[in-house]
Symmetry: C2
Subunit: 151 residues, 2 copies
DNA sequence: TATTGTTATACTCTATAACTATA
DNA sequence: TATAGTTATAGAGTATAACAATA
């Protein structure tokens, strides 16, 4: 799909279409930006998740992410092959693997996060700071993020 | 990808991630809703485009949509096979095909539009009307829709 | 018998490049 | 020689189901 120009009318007046279009454009730009450090968006997401909860099992990573079990195997294989994360056998249950970042993984994640932030700044440049914050809060509400926190 | 619950923290605090996540969820829900009338989102988009500009050539449809030339062939093949649109040889240039909706295509589009509208209502239900309008305008601004109009 | 992780496989979507027919 | 449309093919991304190891 092409994202060089604005989305075509008459669809561009519908909020649902605008959500899809902006979302897809964001995802593709984000993926392109992350290629700089050789990461894909799912890999970046999993790195982020491991950092905030070191030692999660693969199953827990699957539950806490948007990725299914077999894709998680591929992601972790890649992370291990590049020395960014490691699977350790779980203490009490040898079926389980506890996953940790290596120090190299932590450094890579910091780099990737900087790239993601600067990409987001560029993406959101058409909006001033107040508008950006309004958008963020509306999107959180739409995704029901805060309701989930309140559970 | 799963969209049953809210997106995982800590990513859910980033506007860029929220854009991708909401966009993808919207696109998938929209696709599921359209299955009711046997249409895919690209097919729906092309139907909409033909309706607003009857007689466009395939090339013009490609330029006015987000779909590349070879995918457009597949979309139009499908529309013709189902009797929703037809390709006519262009008057002055026999390489070109001018594309029109059939009356059946117009009826189907009306049905699909009703489904799309009711899906969007449901999707946007967490926001009140004023918030929905704010979101719509922020997304248009982000997509630079109005700037393009002003050109 | 159930669960964790793995493998093999198939499916959808889209992009690329080669081909045809007309200009 | 260039353009409109078509066909064939390949690639990314993801999902499904069968399988091995362990509980």
């Amino acid at each position: 799909m092409r994202f060089d120009g604005p989305p075509p009318e008459p669809l561009a007046s519908a909020t649902g279409f605008l959500l899809s279009w902006n979302g897809r454009r964001t995802a593709e730009g984000f993926a392109r930006a992350l290629q700089e450090v050789g990461l894909s968006p799912p890999v970046f997401g999993v790195l982020t998740l491991i950092e905030s909860h070191p030692g999660l099992t693969q199953k827990e990573l699957v539950e806490g992410s948007l990725i299914d079990a077999s894709s998680m195997v591929a992601v972790l294989d890649e992370l291990e092959a590049e020395g960014l994360a490691e699977r350790r056998v779980h203490d009490s249950d040898r079926r389980k693997r506890a996953v940790y970042l290596t120090s190299q993984g932590k450094r890579k994640l910091a780099k990737a996060r900087a790239i993601a932030t600067s990409f987001a700044d560029e993406l959101l440049a058409p909006l001033d700071e107040k508008e950006q914050e309004t958008l963020r809060q509306l999107l959180r509400k739409l995704a029901r993020v805060d309701e989930a926190d309140a559970r």
